[in-house]
């Protein structure tokens, strides 16, 4: 048959999924060691150095977390407490 003409939707979806995921993982990789600004619920803004995350992106492991009450050498941020994060690669 003609290549690509009758490509099953499932396999097309799987390809797109893989490419979206790869780009996401690469963006996380680029963030390692960067100073990241986190916007938390309740309008709190904190900054920290990004270290790692888990596969399902449930926690961010960070260091030098600057909070309104002081600096935490190492910390685990629950992603459910985060609205957004920003960094300059």
């Amino acid at each position: 048959g003609v290549p690509g003409a009758a490509e099953p939707l499932e396999s097309r979806e799987q390809q797109v999924r893989a490419s979206l995921r790869e780009r996401y993982l690469r963006s996380l990789l680029a963030m390692v060691g960067s100073q990241v600004s986190f916007t938390l619920h309740a309008g709190v803004q904190v900054t920290a150095h990004f270290g790692a995350t888990d596969l399902d992106v449930a926690n961010f492991y960070v260091s030098q977390l600057q909070t309104p009450i002081g600096v935490q050498a190492e910390a685990l941020l629950r992603c459910s407490d985060i609205i957004a994060y920003t960094f300059r690669p």
Partner: protein, 95 residues
Amino acid sequence: MSEWTKKGPLEWQEYTYKEVRVTACEKEFRGWVLTTDPVSANIVLVNFLDDGSLSVTGIMGQTVQSVETLGEGDWRTRERLTHLFSSGHCEGYSL
């Protein structure tokens, strides 16, 4: 759970390389969509700054209320986004 997290890869892909306004927890974010993580539905936005540098913002999928498309990127924007964080610069290791 937000509507955004219920979308599938093909729907998320439609937003890639577009300029969008994301509302999440009553806050607004603007930028070019680099990707949406299919696992967490987190959206990654890129902003090109005047000094030539970039700012990258990840928005947690669970907090997304709406995503509005503002514009389509020209080929140059698309090119920049495509090569951002790509594996190209690792060639030096494959000796």
